[in-house]
């Protein structure tokens, strides 16, 4: 696929004979893609393999159309990488460190210095850019890592657990920065995290890994839109029986819960106001109406459950669960 950010083509990575990534096949096309999975699922290994740190034992992958086996240098030239762990050069000032990294990416010294200053101001560390990196707090180190990842102007940003160890205000600031970068639309990003909230707030697509397999791949936006006709009602009346019958006659799928709660899927072509009319006819009060949608947590948990019983990945999109969107292929 021409516009795929990442194409995984039977990618397998083994360490000491042990498969870590197991024949992954996918084509990721989103502007901001979340890599989700429990610890040890293979998220960081996938990023490191795409960067050329690990050699695939079979298969390959393409990053923005470049093969990671034969065009490693070109691939790295397109990527800005923010690693999971502390990574810096102690004793070096922040701005000098980012300048060094930009120069190694190919920027001339003058340009590298200018962009290092800009990157530091951009991530909010402008005032401390001349301080030694070793003296930075954890939040400042995370921001400095982001600065070095964007200073050379990459086309694709790999963020590996960017909010690791951050306190709530620092986390909010980091998420805002990532959203800002995403919304400017000048680079695409892959965010690896085990924190559902980070992915939900920053990504429009999510790839869920479990034990080296793809457990699910979904477009969060489409998923939300697809579920907007799933409703939860809280009703009050002498009996809901007649109301339920009327709903089913209308074509709704219903399920009755305790204390007048009803879950239903509204068929196409039926407006919500029709429910109120029906309730009035049946002398039923609708006290609350919620549009229920799958949260990322629901999607994640379902993926974990389904991959626990079978190897087939769960694909959720606007076309319906289990359908494969064009350009997506899985084992």
């Amino acid at each position: 696929m021409a516009n795929a950010v990442i194409e995984l083509d039977g990618l397998e990575v083994r360490f000491g004979g042990q498969p870590i990534l197991k024949k992954l096949d996918a084509s990721l096309t989103g502007r901001s893609i979340g890599l989700l999975g429990p610890n040890g699922a293979g998220k960081s290994t996938l990023l490191n393999t795409l960067l050329g740190f690990h050699k695939p034992s079979s298969g390959t992958a393409r990053v923005l159309g470049r093969d990671i086996r034969s065009q490693t240098r070109e691939v790295r030239g397109l990527i800005g990488y923010m690693p999971e762990n502390d990574a810096f050069i102690a004793g070096m000032s922040g701005v000098r460190f980012v300048r060094l990294m930009a120069e190694l990416a190919g920027l001339p010294p003058g340009q590298a210095l200018e962009r290092a200053h800009e990157a530091f101001f951009y991530v909010g560390l402008g005032e401390v850019r001349y301080r030694a990196l070793g003296t930075y707090s954890l939040g400042m180190k995370q921001a400095a890592k982001l600065a070095q990842a964007i200073a050379h102007g990459p086309r694709l940003l790999f963020l590996d657990e960017p909010t690791n160890g951050l306190d709530p205000p620092a986390r909010v600031r980091m998420i805002q920065l990532i959203q800002e970068i995403r919304d400017r639309g000048e680079l695409q990003l892959i965010l690896s995290s085990h924190l559902l909230r980070d992915v939900e707030e920053c990504c429009d697509q999510v790839l869920i890994l479990k034990d080296g397999h793809i457990a699910a791949y979904c477009n969060l936006e489409e998923e939300r839109r697809a579920n907007h006709r799933f409703l939860e009602l809280e009703t009050r009346s002498a009996s809901n029986g007649c109301f339920l019958e009327a709903l089913e006659k209308l074509g709704c799928q219903t399920a009755q819960g305790a204390q007048g709660r009803i879950k239903l899927v509204l068929p196409d072509g039926i407006e919500v106001r029709r429910l109120y009319a029906l309730a009035a006819e049946q002398n039923v009060q609708i006290r609350r109406l919620n549009c229920k949608r799958d949260s990322l947590e629901d999607i994640f948990l379902k993926a974990m459950e389904s991959s626990g019983t079978r190897q087939e990945p769960r694909v959720t999109t606007a076309m319906g669960r289990g359908d494969r969107p064009e350009g997506l292929s899985y084992q």
Partner: protein, 300 residues
């Protein structure tokens, strides 16, 4: 562009040539080394011997000065021959070993300790370029101490003696260049390999000297216990001395090498064995670097 612009913008300017990006590493390293007064002073002090040697060569060719020193006729103050240049290279190489022991351990170990390798190698910058960059830090500094001033002295002597002397003694020039590089290559690789494996810098520096002196003593013990001469292959001064003598004087060599790098004439070991031992040591160092210089270490 003002530095206060708080926006992200992609870079669409020119890029530097990929082949010379490794030179970024020595440039930053030299800036750091220049901040250390001790190292700056030490490095300047290492040029004392070349200056004295240049002075000796000058005096050797200045009749007034020789008269003043009461050296007349065909007598010479010091013979300017292969031995003179080997001694020069020996002194300077020993100082280069000190330099490598001071700055070598600080090359790779801080990057490993702070996981910086993943940042270096996530760029269009290979492991080989990283090692080449770190190697060039040591190689440039050591070159300026050893074969570069050595060749300048050779040119100075040739200037005074004339073109015939240069033609007759061209082996000295090639010996200075190749002998100097042999030592630089070995000492730099050893310093980098130890720096990659020993994270405590003083210990890595001490191991540099250990490889030079303790291994010699160990080789001597092997010679005594087994009644052999092959233990000398562990003695770096002996091995390097043997190689230098061959490079400077050819097959019909008579001298015993330079200062600190002397061969044992009573139990001389073949030159091929010396080259083989140097090659083996280099391969071991390269393998050590190959194992450690990685974007991400896999813990099995």
């Amino acid at each position: 562009m003002a530095v206060y612009k708080k926006i992200y913008r992609p870079y669409d300017g020119v890029l530097t040539a990929p082949w010379k990006r490794f030179l970024v590493i020595p440039r930053y390293a030299f800036e750091d080394l220049h901040r250390s007064r001790f190292l700056t002073f030490f490095y300047i002090a290492t040029f004392a011997y070349p200056l004295i040697a240049a002075l000796i060569i000058y005096i050797e060719h200045n009749l007034d000065a020789l008269k003043l020193l009461q050296v007349e006729g065909t007598a010479r103050l010091i013979e300017i021959d292969a031995g003179f240049f080997m001694s020069f290279l020996g002194w300077q190489s020993m100082l280069a070993l000190f330099l490598a022991a001071f700055i070598g351990p600080g090359q790779v170990s801080p990057d490993l300790a702070n996981n910086a390798l993943s940042l270096y190698l996530a760029r269009p910058f290979s492991r080989a370029e990283y090692v080449l960059g770190k190697f060039s830090v040591l190689a440039i500094l050591m070159s300026l101490m050893t074969w570069v001033p050595g060749l300048l002295l050779f040119v100075l002597e040739g200037y005074f003696e004339g073109g015939d002397w240069i033609a007759q003694h061209s082996r000295i020039a090639s010996g200075l260049f190749l002998g100097g590089w042999t030592w630089i290559f070995l000492a730099s690789l050893l310093a980098l390999a130890l720096s990659a494996w020993v994270k405590w810098r003083p210990a890595a520096g001490a191991l540099m000297f250990g490889a030079f002196f303790v291994a010699s003593a160990f080789g001597g013990v092997i010679n005594v216990m087994l009644g052999t001469r092959w233990g000398d292959l562990l003695s770096m001064p002996n091995v390097i001395g043997t190689v230098w003598v061959r490079l400077f004087e050819g097959e019909n060599s008579l001298s015993e090498g330079g200062v600190f790098f002397r061969l044992d004439r009573s139990a001389i070991i073949p030159v091929w064995a010396c080259w083989a031992s140097l090659l083996l040591l280099s391969c071991v160092c390269l393998y050590m670097l190959h194992r450690k210089i990685r974007g991400r270490e896999v813990v099995r």
